[in-house]
């Protein structure tokens, strides 16, 4: 069943997600600092002293939202979040998280599981998050605990939507859901200077080392310099002669300009798909919605049972 995923899986993600993020990490740090409203609201709604995880914390921008909870961020980038007191971060794989089971009050996973390239791995990623949460019965609590009902931990999961008709990317219902998204990185000192200034204002203590390795860079919502289209489905990429889609290099220098195009893999979630994956992973959706080109859901583990051992793969077509 997994064979019709065109050889996707962990090795594929290493090439089309992790390596690319390593290259563009500094760009993320300088541009993606503003928390999405749903994420901010979720984090601010937590009780003081709550303990949680941020799976795929990247540069740690969500770690600074609420200083009265304790968050352990994780990312599989070699260079991750610098210090965001009082929180902490570790390097870990999304599917092998180094945390005790059923012990956390909350979890967030923002713009992460859409980088997993098979239906099974996406469901496993949701399960890996849910199994960290306390269950409504009180999780690992001992018998001496008072009988007051404790609610289960809550996870906020946020993924890119297929339905983005208001964005310039041109995706919408019916489009291929597995896409490669080019990022063009340019050597442009002026842009770089601007990014640094912005960075200093927002993230004073982290700007220097995070922005040091890459000079100017910007996302390309319209056609990229190196390619004729802004997006290509994974299936199309084998056929194209575009240099940016060369499997061997995944980063291509466009002809005369000092720019590189990085291809990142995304699975675009269609309406209802995230909720489906959560159910498959043994979760209950408490709330869900759409926010600015993304689907999100708040989920909690099913009471009293662990996640089902096997799962039906979600069919995308």
């Amino acid at each position: 069943m997994a064979t019709d995923d065109d050889g996707r899986g962990e090795a594929y993600e290493t090439e089309y997600v992790h390596t690319v993020y390593e290259q563009i990490a500094s760009h993320f740090s300088s541009t993606r600092y503003k928390p999405w409203p749903i994420v901010e609201r979720f984090l601010k709604s937590l009780r003081d002293g709550s303990i949680g995880v941020d799976v795929g914390c990247g540069n740690g921008k969500y770690l600074s939202v609420n200083p009265n909870v304790f968050i352990i961020g994780s990312a599989n980038l070699a260079r991750i979040a610098a210090r965001h007191e009082p929180h902490s971060s570790v390097v870990a794989d999304n599917l092998s998280l180094p945390h005790p089971l059923a012990s956390f009050d909350f979890a967030i996973s923002i713009a992460v599981i859409h980088h997993l390239s098979t239906p099974l791995r996406r469901i496993q990623a949701v399960r890996a998050i849910l199994e960290l949460l306390k269950t409504a019965s009180g999780g690992t609590g001992s018998g001496s605990q008072p009988a007051e009902t404790e609610t289960g931990g809550r996870a906020l999961i946020y993924v890119w939507a297929l339905e983005q008709k208001d964005s310039r990317r041109g995706w919408d219902e019916g489009h291929e859901q597995d896409v490669m998204v080019p990022w063009v990185m340019k050597s442009n000192n002026k842009a770089n200077h601007k990014n640094r200034q912005k960075n200093k204002a927002e993230h004073r203590e982290h700007s220097d080392h995070l922005s040091a390795s890459v000079s100017g860079m910007h996302t390309q919502d319209g056609p990229s310099k190196a390619c004729s289209d802004s997006q290509h489905s994974v299936k199309e990429k084998q056929d194209t002669s575009c240099a940016a889609h060369d499997n061997d290099s995944q980063q291509a220098t466009s002809d005369s300009q000092e720019s590189k195009t990085f291809q990142r893999y995304y699975h675009l979630y269609r309406k209802g798909e995230l909720e489906h994956d959560i159910a498959e992973a043994g979760g209950i959706v408490l709330d869900s919605g759409y926010e600015k080109d993304n689907w999100w859901a708040v989920a909690t583990p099913v009471v009293g049972t662990s996640a089902p051992a096997s799962t039906n793969l979600y069919r995308t077509s």
């Binding site: 002293g49 200083p67 007191e85 009082p86 390097v91 870990a92 998280l97 945390h99 005790p100």
Partner: protein, 146 residues
């Protein structure tokens, strides 16, 4: 890697996660570093009930830090003035912030400011060693261990 963080980490291997032997991970060849950070007394008070005290105690022994008492301190011991009833909660919080006891400050020092700069974290179940470098622990597993 804060000492507090160790209280919420275990082995990344599936076979270990559910076992008691994998928690807490054991620091080895650890080089400690004090990284000062602002005292937030209410944070310490709120986090205290969530700490597995025995695990914390064990780690302190292994790191050669001063031995902790057998049981976690009572919340009342964290503030010099008792916290007043709920209807004046805001005042109580402000008052509390002004009067952290030495005990609370010691806990802040231990949990948030004492960090492992370099070293290893060893799983008591499978023996796998996770490296800590520049204060960041790396839990990525070689593919045959996943």
């Amino acid at each position: 890697m804060k000492i507090l963080t160790l209280n919420f980490l275990t082995c990344a291997r599936k076979a270990c996660k559910a076992t008691n032997a994998a928690f807490p991970l054991h620091p080895r060849d650890a080089e400690l570093e004090i990284v000062e950070t602002d005292l937030n007394p209410l944070f310490i008070r709120n986090i205290l009930p969530r700490i597995e005290w025995d695990a914390l105690r064990e780690i302190c022994v292994e790191l050669g830090l001063p031995t902790l008492p057998d049981a976690a301190p009572e919340p009342a011991a964290l503030f010099a003035e008792p916290i007043v009833p709920a209807d004046t909660m805001q005042d109580a919080d402000e008052g509390a912030e002004k009067q952290p006891t030495q005990l609370l400050q010691d806990l802040h020092r231990l949990l948030l400011e004492t960090t492992i700069a370099t070293g290893k974290l060893v799983c008591g179940n499978c023996g796998h060693e996770y490296a800590v470098k520049e204060g960041i622990a790396n839990f990525l597993l070689p593919s045959h261990l996943v």
